[in-house]
């Protein structure tokens, strides 16, 4: 006998499937969509950092033969089928395969503007494909998706997201869900060693959070998606780096430090939303209670092709239960 039957059913539950930090991984995003169906989610939420970090040039060597390097290893494709497979492999780890001729590659490398433009186009195109996939799969099933960028994502992808009616970007916006729940978000992060496009100084981040706090109408039913986790919690612990961005070790252990935002912690302490969803620190998947707020960082293992997410059951204005999943 199944436990569910043993203990009987209950009242209407709204189930959220949350994921973050896909970093361009086609495989992880497709698993995210699949997971929503597998676990019968009603709503999907994405916490940012959705674009990839690199392009992999797959250079035509002549005669229909192609060559590219993935993680330092030479990969060859000598037929159309092999080329498709190589493109998929590259896309699955979050990179963008670009099929180019040798002279085209040289041209790109010589022109930083052109290189950046190509990168931006690749990122936007993949996001557009993802939105189309979501639209195709989710809309007929009556599922809604909230898809927010993160500090690593260019602002131009916001425009791509906005092209799709059934997909909402909650970055500094407020949306109402059924049962009186409301969704708000913030894509920015405090400054990282990489000074990413949406990184802000802590004071500026605080100002945006103050504005966000003013937008919250019913904290007891509010879901806030804030890319960066609260400072000084188990959700924001990551390896400390030296000035060369190398991990610092001591006693043979990685030295960890808090990399979250004090302003986010203060926001949660003050506003006390029902649910706070975070990402940003891949190593720090977890969950904790901050007052009445359940804060979750789903973490990320996109490079391994593993989707890490969180299932959250809402019932009667409360988080009834939650579970971190991976697969």
């Amino acid at each position: 006998m199944k436990f569910g039957k043993l203990f009987g059913g209950s009242s209407k539950i709204t189930r959220i499937m949350y994921g973050s930090d896909f970093h361009g991984s086609e495989l992880v995003y497709r698993k995210f969509i699949s997971a929503a169906f597998q676990y019968k989610a009603d709503v999907l939420m994405v916490g940012g950092d959705v674009t990839g970090k690199a392009m992999v040039p797959v250079v035509h060597q002549g005669g229909g033969n192609y060559e590219g390097f993935l993680f330092g290893r030479r990969e060859e494709a000598n037929s159309g089928e092999e080329l498709e497979k190589l493109k998929n492999t590259i896309s699955n780890v979050g990179f963008y395969p670009i099929i180019i001729e040798k002279d085209e590659a040289a041209e790109l490398e010589a022109d930083p503007q052109k290189m950046s433009g190509r990168f931006e186009a690749e990122m936007c195109e993949r996001i557009r494909q993802w939105m189309q996939l979501a639209d195709e799969k989710l809309t007929p099933a009556g599922m809604k998706m909230y898809f927010m960028p993160g500090n690593d994502d260019l602002y131009s992808i916001d425009d791509v997201i906005s092209e799709f009616e059934n997909i909402s970007n909650p970055d500094m916006k407020r949306f109402e869900m059924e049962e009186g729940y409301e969704v708000l978000g913030l894509s920015n992060a405090n400054m990282t060693p990489w000074a990413c496009i949406r990184d802000l100084e802590e004071d500026d981040l605080k100002k945006k959070l103050d504005t966000l706090a003013g937008m919250v109408q019913n904290p007891e039913r509010a879901i806030v998606i804030i890319h960066v986790p609260p400072y000084g919690t188990p959700l924001d612990s990551c390896p400390d780096l030296d000035k060369n961005l190398k991990i610092i070790t001591q006693g043979g252990q990685v030295v960890m430090k808090s990399a979250g935002s004090p302003a986010v912690k203060a926001f949660i302490d003050k506003v006390q939303p029902m649910l706070a969803l975070h990402g940003h620190i891949h190593e720090s998947a977890g969950h904790l209670r901050i007052g009445r707020t359940l804060a979750i960082n789903a973490g990320s293992e996109y490079a391994e092709g593993i989707f890490k997410g969180a299932l959250i059951n809402l019932e009667g204005g409360k988080v009834k239960g939650h579970l971190l999943i991976s697969g």
Partner: protein, 536 residues
């Protein structure tokens, strides 16, 4: 526009300026923690005080070398586990997703409980072995009856419980300090351990007289010459079957090197886990093997193996009238007596034994956190103290179990408990090792998307399946040998097997109780977290 950050690396990768591109932990860093988990102190004593005397005539270097080679396979297996599931408690995480969640949890549950108890028995080794050996050494060399008397009291049941409990409290306090402080304590311990071995090498390499003369000077005239005969009179038989004793010695070898794979439990904190884990575990294995082998060579330069075996045999056989001192620290101390050097070694030994217990506390707490992520235990167990930023509840639970280990060691026998640990550890490791061996076939989609290190093949067969089979054979042999050779197997009896069964069954009960609770109260099925998610 995307801002380009990295070079084009010879047309291999066009990287943009974004977070987290290059973050690796060096081989040295990974090796240091592996060495800590192996322990330069307790493991450094075993080859001379225990291995030599179990089968007199066996080669210390031979057993160390064969065991180290088999451990390389085991280390590879665990490195692949960490690379496949780069997160806390990778072994539990992998086995629960690939093989069976209840079984994986039960195995992990058993490993944690027994590891915490063994942490206690290791702490108990401070009053039971480390302090008596070092104080007896100083008592003999410097003719100090007070030291000899203290050594005797220290190894009594009362001494073990009192000193052991104090050390347990010290371990608890040091483990709830901020992580950076704990790491500093570990770092100091690593260098203290190295300094201690440099001192031992110096003493073994610059003896002020022959070994026989120095031994007789402190242990009595004619003592050296009569040692082998005394052991024979007490039942020592030299030269058994070399192949069999080497194979049986694999249990002891695994015990000596146990710990090199523990960084796998922290796989979530390292980047490029596939490189870091394999290089760290192999480097720590080879480094400690080299440290112990160099000591054995220096000693065997002056003393025949048979004599070392006799001294070890007298100790193992409990011939206390003979006042056996089969310890490398004692041999070194009598060859070049120095109060200062002996004190430094003594402090380093006690310090690194506490370090060893700390590593056990460390990895147990990480595994507990992994259970919490899967909602198998109450969240309060993983409460993080807001000021100390440490998992104070989890550490307190481990401390209580460790204290039970201290008392068990005082009333039972540390050696037996630790050899039983090999049996327990191997039983629990069978689950993740079987999971990774079958991983390419049970989860082909995940295997195909894993890193190149995990996907490596030879002749079309996954390397991890081949290496996993060798590891499983090694483990099965250790289980079989535990029964065939009780002298090294910890004398597994009904009580041991019953305890193992009770731990495993209690783990399965906890799993299903947690599942029922979450389903009933939260509408969440814990089993979801262990399922594969195919892409659309």
């Amino acid at each position: 526009m995307a801002e380009m950050a990295a070079t084009t690396e010879d047309r291999r990768l066009y990287a943009r300026k974004s977070s987290g591109l290059v973050r690796t932990i060096g081989v040295f860093g990974a090796m240091v923690f592996g060495v800590h988990c192996i322990s330069l102190s307790s493991s450094g004593l075993i080859p001379f005080s225990w291995v030599a005397g179990v089968w007199p005539g066996s080669s210390i270097i031979g057993v160390l070398t064969v065991a180290m080679i088999f451990c390389l396979f085991h280390a590879y297996t665990y490195s692949v586990i960490g690379a496949t599931m780069p997160r806390s408690a990778a072994d539990y995480t992998l086995a629960s997703r690939v093989l069976s969640a209840p079984l994986a949890f039960a195995a992990s549950w058993t490993l944690v409980i027994f590891s915490a108890m063994v942490a206690g028995s290791l702490i108990a080794w401070i009053p039971n072995t480390a302090i008596p050996v070092l104080f007896r050494t100083m008592g003999i060399i410097f003719n100090n009856p007070g030291f000899l008397s203290f050594a005797g009291w220290s190894e009594s049941a009362a001494g073990i419980i009192i000193i052991g409990s104090i050390c347990t409290v010290i371990t608890f306090i040091t483990m709830i300090l901020p992580t950076r402080t704990i790491l500093r304590i570990l770092e100091v311990g690593f260098f203290l351990g190295i300094i201690a071995w440099v001192i031992l090498y110096f003493q073994l390499g610059t003896a002020v007289g022959s070994f026989e003369a120095q031994w007789d000077k402190f242990m009595g005239a004619g003592s050296y010459a009569g040692r082998i005969q005394l052991a024979v009179d007490n039942g020592m038989v030299t030269n058994p079957n070399v192949a069999i004793m080497t194979l049986a010695g694999l249990i002891m070898g695994f015990w000596i090197f146990y710990g090199y794979y523990i960084p796998t439990f922290f796989a979530g904190e390292v980047k490029q886990a596939e490189k870091t884990l394999i290089s760290g575990s192999w480097a720590s294995l080879i480094t400690t093997w080299a440290i112990f082998v160099v000591a054995a060579l220096l000693l065997q330069r002056m003393v025949p193996l048979e004599w070392i075996a006799a001294e070890s045999y007298l100790s193992n056989a409990g011939i206390s009238d003979a006042n056996p001192m089969p310890y490398i620290t004692f041999y070194a101390a009598i060859l070049r007596p120095s109060a200062l050097l002996t004190w430094i070694v003594a402090i380093a030994w006690v310090y690194t034994l506490i370090n060893l217990a700390q590593t056990y506390f460390f990895y147990c707490s990480r595994i507990i956190f992994a259970w919490s992520f899967d909602r198998l235990i109450p969240e309060k167990v993983c409460y993080i103290h807001p000021t100390l930023r440490s998992p104070i509840v989890a550490i307190a639970i481990i401390t209580v179990i460790a204290e039970i280990g201290v008392i068990d060691a005082a009333l039972g026998g540390v050696m037996g408990a630790q050899l039983n640990f090999v049996f327990f550890a191997v039983c629990t490791q069978l689950v993740p090792c079987l999971a990774i061996t079958l991983f390419p076939f049970l989860k082909p989609d995940m295997f195909e998307n894993a890193s190149a290190f995990v996907r490596r093949k030879v002749g079309g067969i996954p390397v991890i399946t081949l290496v996993g089979c060798v590891t499983l054979l090694y483990q099965v042999w250790m289980l079989v040998a535990s029964f065939l050779f009780p002298a090294v197997g910890g004398r597994i009896g009904v009580g041991t097997l019953g305890t193992l069964a009770a731990f495993i069954i209690s783990g399965i009960i906890v799993f299903y109780a947690a599942r029922a609770y979450r389903l009933n109260k939260e509408g969440i099925d814990i089993n979801w977290t262990f399922q594969s998610i195919p892409p659309v």
